[in-house]
Symmetry: C2
Subunit: 379 residues, 2 copies
């Protein structure tokens, strides 16, 4: 399972904010056998200086960089194989493109961009290049075992009738991302927390639909509301989408509530399933996967721990190693659909659904066609 | 709590079908101290003959009637105080009106009528009469303690953000109502099982909305699907409604699935609640009421047994006794809102929402205004 034939991938962390500290540093520490953090860059010297000692605890040779010029230096360093771009959406894609042009493999955080238009253009430009490093999106919901298991199980549910997404994700002063200013910039981050966070929920919903063979999401309609005085509008979206198959899904999301409760369920003619997080059981990190089918002999309930951040990093490293001329891909499920799970195009499709929901909410819930994102040409 | 000052109300059962047998006979047996079944009538002699011995087990003096002429005889009998009309929707309202004109107090089953137009006309006619017996609707969801407790709790949730209704109610050959022909008559029972059964779900949704002060449901939009070859179309409705306050509720209902799962939840700025039936716990009859508020110290989960049929009968008997010149109404919660819970106008409002959802589904999910039902004039 470990990619033993390879030297660790030398990774630079681009961005030194809260998510780098809370997620990427522990993650890279856990994966130190396959990933060697060799550098950290931030726009400000102060942020770099704060982050570097934390990295050097497990990667003593890591160097610090800051500012535009030093980014150029970093990208000229042939010892850097890959970068993780962990920046606000306003600047992230532009930096990711710069890194790709420098020949670095890129793992980029979500949302993939601030608009479908911007990311569509970037994808076109990328395909024009003769040299194409790995460009992967860190959408951890597509890598969560809770959803992946549900995707496998969906084939036992008969014809899929409908999906239901209820996501109550409290965003108040007790949440560490509450203070984030870049999510409150209506122009640079249109939709605020809704756009930034709902791409996750839509990624999970679409993953289940795709696994069930329902095709892409083609239509969306929604009502938007703003209940919290502390959040940029809107903080609530209630509506629905339709898959190409005609299958409907209800979508009901708020950030203005106070109880975390994420429920994604699928109803089929021969069984049902639900992936639940939070709710009345709370506490235990991870998902509760419940299902019942004609053959399951009553309902089954399984706890599935969080796995998305680890598995998406593993999937990225696998792709980087493959691009170096790896042996045939191992059969392990973590790698099987690595390209799909970290696909930038898939991230653009999640964003396109959010854009359509927001657009519909601005015209009294009128049904809006979801913009299509062409698939990556197979070489 | 028992209405000890009164003689039992003498009740005739009008209709001798499956629901009379399975629900009303055990119910009247349980309530024999306040209700004395004095007669049963059916359109056919055979049905009356089958039902009468079951009634005589606990009401030995009950008599059997059948056919139109004998209904007239029954209604002329001054010993009959009240009737329970338990007939297919195609004929129910007409028979209820006949009973009311004969001066009998009426407890009528749901749906209140096959269309809002028909019931609106009947309500107007009823108000014109100088003599007005009790005309009550047996909508048991409005009497279920599970929902009534949720209605009390809703005031602790802060501002209500949204409601979410997911109702997967399998209707297949293992359900005893599956064979019912009158629910498969597109003209006489438009909407089939969706109309017949969804009035319950909408009653519960509206009860929560009204308790929260959101007002009436004013708008609806939905997609309808037909997945089961064994059910009249449609068997699935996915969409949403809006209350007068602007508060949205998602509505996702199917009869084509195979797992019973009814979830009605409310998300507020200071807490959330859910009333759940079936799902992954199954088995135990009744509802699971879960809630969490700023002051509840974590989530609370309570099992609430079914109570609706008993409490709606008690509410009806209470009104009948009051109309006889009862002493002041007792303070017990079972009686407190008896008129509201058994209101024919409320039943018409539930039906109006279903009509709007079905109408929207016939015009590609376009938003449809819900027809208004005037309130009963207070005398």
């Amino acid at each position: 399972m470990a990619e033993e034939n390879h030297k660790p991938v030398r990774l630079a962390l681009i961005g030194a904010g809260l998510f780098t500290k809370d997620a990427y540093i522990p993650l890279c520490r856990r994966h130190a056998s396959t990933v060697q953090v060799c550098a950290v860059w931030s726009r400000s010297a102060k942020a770099t200086d704060l982050m570097l000692p934390l990295i050097q605890e497990f990667a003593p040779n890591a160097k610090g960089y800051h500012g535009d010029d030093q980014l150029d230096n970093l990208l000229r360093d042939a010892n850097v194989d890959a970068v993780a771009v962990v920046l606000p959406v306003q600047v992230m894609l532009q930096v990711a493109q710069k890194c790709l042009k420098a020949g670095k493999h890129v793992l980029q955080e979500k949302p993939v961009a601030q608009s479908v238009e911007v990311v569509s253009h970037a994808i076109k430009e990328f395909h024009k290049c003769s040299q194409q490093p790995v460009w992967a999106l860190a959408e951890n919901y597509r890598s969560e075992q809770g959803f992946l298991k549900a995707c496998q199980m969906i084939h036992e549910l008969g014809t899929i009738i409908k999906l239901d997404l209820v996501a109550d994700m409290p965003m108040n002063s007790s949440n560490k991302y509450f203070g984030s200013q870049w999510r409150r910039d209506a122009e640079g981050c249109p939709g605020g927390f809704v756009m930034d966070s709902c791409v996750h929920h839509i990624a999970a919903l679409r993953a289940l639909g795709i696994a069930a063979g329902l095709g892409q999401v083609t239509e969306a309609s929604a009502t938007a509301l703003s209940l919290s005085e502390e959040l940029p509008p809107p903080d609530t979206l209630v509506g629905g989408v339709k898959f190409a198959s005609g299958t409907p899904a209800s979508v009901s999301i708020t950030f203005a509530g106070s109880v975390l409760r994420f429920s994604l369920s699928v109803t089929g003619t021969k069984g049902s399933l639900e992936v639940l997080r939070g709710g009345w059981e709370g506490g235990k990190p991870g998902y509760k996967l419940s299902y019942q089918t004609a053959t399951s002999n009553g309902a089954k309930v399984e706890h599935v721990p969080f796995s998305g951040l680890d598995d998406e990093l593993t999937a990225f490293i696998h792709q980087v190693n493959q691009s170096k001329g790896s042996p045939a891909a191992p059969a392990d499920a973590v790698y099987a659909d690595a390209v799909y799970r970290t696909s930038v195009e898939e991230g653009a499709r999640d964003l396109a659904v959010i854009e359509a929901l927001l657009q519909s909410s601005q015209s009294a819930g009128k049904t809006v066609r979801v913009k299509e994102i062409p698939s990556r040409p197979s070489n």
